[in-house]
């Protein structure tokens, strides 16, 4: 399934790339693309794992860029 998130206050382009890379490595994530410009993350994940994956992504984002807030859209 496809999910979209907004990454509010994503201020550094390098971090966007890092987040993208890290999220790709989460188990159950098939595809991840972060656009620094539109502050948007689009992921393709396995069904039923939505909650678990979202929790992990939140943790990752906080770790890589503490000022950025992840919001589902």
């Amino acid at each position: 399934m496809k999910k979209e998130y907004r990454l509010e206050d994503l201020d550094c382009a390098n971090c966007a790339a890092k987040i993208e890379d890290a999220v790709k490595n989460i188990e159950g994530v098939k595809e991840c693309s972060v656009s620094f410009i539109t502050e948007k993350m689009i992921i393709e994940i396995e069904e039923d794992k939505e909650k678990e994956i979202e929790k992990q992504i939140k943790k990752l984002v906080k770790k890589i860029e503490p000022d950025t807030i992840l919001k589902a859209i």
């Binding site: 390098n14 656009s35 620094f36 539109t38 502050e39 948007k40």
Partner: protein, 622 residues
């Protein structure tokens, strides 16, 4: 944002004071006291502007983020303090922050300018309920509801006009500045602006399915489809930072051990390395350029579905066109009525319309359409269709024959000049006397010829036309348009095969674009390197199938799109090479002790700023 700016300014002022008192020593202080005051001021200035960074660096170390830019900057500046290069330490942090500030300003600005470019999202819909009007959000309106659109308002949902007429400004969708007329029973698309009249519209699609939502979604997600160049840079930067840091370590320790020279000098050089170790300029300017390019294109009514497609488009050297509906209008119309002396044009058309009134052939319907009046069936006594030839009817007691040259020969007219024009000629005879002909054809779009010329001008190597039409028609169309190759009488399957053949025979590095109307050429659109759909406005199929959608009916927009893509890619390459050359240059110079930390700050911040500014140029397209 504002707080950051204030910090930078205060810190800069303190920094300047510290430098000045060192230079001029206004109040004749003792050297030692003076230098202590100076150091205090430097540290103060540093903390104001750099504390955030150091704090983040410390936190990130605990997160295991070692090559994070905050960390690198902290090390470089604290290191500079340690070897007593105070002004450098402060300057590096100060300029780094200035750069960051500018960068986030620039990004915010470009986010905004693209948003305003795509400012077509309607805020509300005037829903009509029992004669009253209620303001609702467009999401709440359902199919079948009636909405009212007042002058100056955006059309919130797709539908059909049931009352009123007006002019419609479609420029936000198509880049076309001339307003379009709209009246009862016309389809109306969301995202347009109603110019003067009040319209009542029956909603046909929910907001999520409406044109405006689709387009916004498409443009917003375009930067998520990344170009190869972009992915390459991301990968490159992943290695760049660790390598530079590693080199810095080598420089700090190896040469002093080998040559037994002053270690401080080498540490200074190593710290200079750290300052240029951030790949920011590259990482930020590449997506920014693509985004600007996509924005510029959408302003011209060209929707690019991803950065990757913009990149592919710039490498296009073969343009393959579908004929009907792309280069031609796709509607069959009476183009010409050639009457003999004994009869007027109107009479000829009237007779032909009556003669063919019982036929449901497309030719007949276009003649009926041109005639445009009701047929009085009492005037027709008899009507007989001759398959593959035409029709002979008896009207007002006269025998009228309408058909091709074979029909004329059947009734004994042998010396008629065959018409040598694009399209199908319907010859008309009245009582075995030749009366003239009516030419019906699919009109070539006004813009098509210019489109092909423009493509050649921008350096497209080969233009090809594919059509299911017969050879004569295809050749005649091409006499006017002058494409390089024409393949006619192709079934839909043949079109795919022909495309495969063209793909196989071309050079690996060059790309092939297929331009169609998205109606029955979806497989070909999908198979080409880049599928471009024409006249996408309102056609879901076209928006779905293509990589690039031209919202208007003008094929000349393809050359515009190619120009935009080339300019964008040029800017991308400029930025990459500029950033790399400066950074590597500074690395080499500082390794030999020829570049100071000041030069390194420029290589880092200055290059980023210049690259960001340069990428804005992609927004401006002529």
């Amino acid at each position: 944002m504002k707080k950051r700016l204030i910090k930078i300014v205060i810190s800069a002022i303190i920094f300047l004071i510290a430098i000045c008192i060192g230079k001029f020593n206004f109040i004749n202080l003792d050297e030692n006291i003076l230098s202590i005051i100076q150091i205090v001021l430097y540290v103060l200035s540093y903390l104001i502007v750099g504390f955030e960074i150091v704090k983040k660096a410390v936190i990130n170390i605990f997160h295991g983020e070692l090559f994070d830019e905050n960390f690198l900057m902290s090390i470089a500046t604290i290191g500079a303090f340690a070897i007593q290069e105070f002004p450098e330490a402060v300057a590096v942090m100060l300029f780094y922050q200035v750069g960051e500030y500018f960068q986030s300003y620039a990004v915010k600005k470009s986010r905004k300018s693209i948003a305003s470019l795509m400012d077509i999202r309607p805020d509300y819909a005037n829903l009509k309920v029992n004669g009253n009007i209620e303001k609702k959000s467009p999401e709440e309106v359902k199919i079948g509801d009636t909405i009212v659109i007042k002058p100056g308002e955006k059309v919130p949902l797709d539908g059909v006009v049931i009352d009123g007429n007006s002019m419609l400004d479609t420029s936000a969708l198509t880049g076309e500045s001339v307003p379009r007329e709209i009246k009862v029973n016309d389809k109306i698309l969301s995202g347009c602006i109603n110019v003067n009249g009040v319209l009542e519209v029956k909603v046909e699609k929910e907001f999520g399915e409406s044109t405006v939502s689709k387009i916004l979604d498409l443009v917003e997600n375009a930067t998520n489809k990344k170009a190869k160049t972009e992915n390459f840079i991301t990968k490159f930067s992943k290695y760049y930072t660790p390598i530079v840091v590693f080199l810095a370590l080598l420089i700090a320790f190896i040469p002093p051990m080998v040559t037994k020279t002053d270690m401080l000098e080498w540490v200074y050089r190593a710290l200079t390395f750290l300052v240029v170790s951030c790949p920011c300029a590259l990482v930020i300017s590449v997506p920014l350029s693509f985004f600007s390019g996509i924005g510029a294109a959408s302003k011209k009514g060209i929707l690019v579905k991803g950065s990757n497609y913009l990149e592919l488009l710039s490498k296009t050297e073969i343009a393959v066109f579908d004929k009907t509906g792309t280069l031609t209008e796709g509607v069959f119309e009476v183009q010409k009525i050639a009457n003999e002396k004994e009869i007027t044009k109107e009479e000829l058309l009237e007779l032909a319309a009556y003669c063919e009134s019982y036929s449901n052939h497309p030719i007949s319907s276009s003649i009926q359409k041109a005639y445009g009046k009701e047929i009085d069936k009492n005037r027709i006594e008899d009507s007989k269709e001759f398959s593959g030839k035409g029709i002979i009817s008896k009207i007002d007691n006269k025998e009228i024959a309408c058909g091709n040259i074979k029909l004329m020969e059947t009734i004994g007219l042998k010396n008629i000049n065959q018409v040598d024009e694009i399209g199908t000629a319907v010859y008309v005879a009245i009582g075995k006397q030749y009366a003239g002909y009516i030419l019906i054809s699919d009109k070539i779009k006004e813009d098509s010829r210019k489109a092909i010329q423009e493509l050649k001008k921008v350096g497209i190597q080969k233009t090809v036309m594919l059509t299911g039409d017969n050879k004569d028609v295809a050749e005649k169309v091409n006499q006017e348009l002058k494409l390089d190759e024409v393949y006619s009488e192709l079934l839909p399957v043949d079109k795919v095969n022909k495309l495969e053949e063209l793909l196989k025979n071309k050079n690996e590095d060059t790309k092939l674009a297929f331009i169609g109307d998205g109606i029955n050429d979806a497989p070909v659109l999908a198979r080409a390197d880049i599928g471009i759909a024409m006249g996408g406005l309102g056609s879901d199929a076209a928006i779905e199938a293509a990589d690039i959608v031209i919202m208007t009916d003008e094929p000349s927009k393809i050359a515009t799109a190619i120009k935009i893509s080339r300019k964008t890619l040029k800017i991308v390459y400029q930025n990459i090479s500029f950033a790399l050359i400066v950074k590597i240059g500074v690395l080499i110079l500082s390794a030999f002790g020829l570049a100071s930390m000041w030069a390194a700050v420029f290589a880092d911040v200055g290059v980023t700023v210049l690259a960001v500014l340069n990428s804005f140029r992609a927004l401006k397209q002529n």
